[in-house]
């Protein structure tokens, strides 16, 4: 009994430290680290239209509307898995501007992919060298961001979207 009383402060301290450690590590999925860009302004970029090389879309053009930005590629299997969900999002939130960015993909392959799977995007940009993706901190495909009408990033998801994520997280933002 005396021993336990002696060790009590130590046990208490370890418990408190463990509690803090768990608090720090809680919800920190190593496969989906939190984005530093969340609640920050949209990075500056300009992207050419996949279907018209004279048309560009710049970050300034997105500042007055809610925008969903999706990085995809024809060679990315998880992108195919989430692709149809963008049609559902479009139906559920018609005012949302859906901006697809073809990442490190040949424009001809992206066009072929969108012809086969359908094109849910309001604008399809090209990022062949991955420079736009770098500004967004993209590290794997697919990645999805939502920007509010003030130009701030309010949502980020790395990996394929699911119906549950759309229902539980995305639709609640509107």
């Amino acid at each position: 009994m005396k021993k336990v009383t002696l060790l009590l402060p130590l046990i208490l301290l370890i418990t408190v430290c463990l509690f803090f450690l768990l608090f720090i590590l809680f919800e920190k999925d190593p496969n989906n680290p939190p984005s530093v860009l969340l609640n920050k302004n949209l990075p500056l970029f300009s992207s050419v239209n996949l279907y018209n090389d004279k048309e560009y879309l710049a970050s300034e053009d997105l500042k007055d509307k809610y925008t969903l930005i999706n990085f995809f590629a024809s060679w990315c299997a998880p992108c195919k898995a989430e692709h149809n969900l963008f049609f559902e999002i479009k139906k559920e939130i018609p005012d949302l501007f859906i901006f697809g960015i073809s990442y490190k993909d040949k424009p001809s392959d992206s066009k072929k992919y969108l012809k086969q799977e359908g094109n849910p995007y309001s604008f399809v940009g090209v990022d062949q060298e991955g420079k736009i993706a770098f500004e967004f901190g993209v590290f794997g495909l697919p990645e999805t961001y939502i920007i509010n009408n003030k130009g701030k990033i309010i949502f980020k998801h790395a990996g394929a979207l699911t119906k549950k994520i759309i229902d539980d997280e995305i639709t609640k933002l509107f």
Binding site: L13, I24, P33, P34, S35, F134, G137, F139
Partner: protein
């Protein structure tokens, strides 16, 4: 004699230039290796950017090389990368108030263990 001196001078210039370029190249390569070893390949399992051949690692290696050539130092390149990828890209996180517990906790445990050990020694 004058021609001989001229050639000696040329040889001297060549030697200096060659040594300088090879030294600066080695210097950049060493710094590049050191820094990429401290960066996490975010698409790999516990691998540094230096050790990985993934698309992500190749991209970061290219950026680090470019930034060194532009004259940025290690700290500036780390800041440039953490602005986009967060501190998660660093294998060794910064020492900050946010990470204080992570850094201090092992030392707190060590000191406590030593105190208990000394106390027990004195008792015996």
């Amino acid at each position: 004699m004058k021609l001989q001196n001229f050639f000696k001078f040329l040889l001297f210039i060549f030697f200096i230039t060659f040594s300088y370029t090879s030294f600066s190249k080695d210097n950049i390569n060493d710094r590049y290796k050191k820094l990429t070893l401290e960066l996490r390949c975010m698409t790999c399992q516990n691998q540094s950017v230096y050790d990985s051949d993934s698309d992500f690692a190749k991209n970061i290696k290219k950026i680090v090389k470019e930034k060194f050539k532009e004259g940025l130092n290690e700290k500036e390149i780390k800041d440039f990368l953490t602005k986009r990828y967060g501190e998660y890209i660093l294998l060794k996180p910064y020492f900050s108030s946010k990470n204080l517990l992570l850094w201090v906790f092992p030392f707190v445990l060590l000191v406590l263990s030593m105190l208990i050990f000394i106390r027990n020694l004195k008792k015996n």
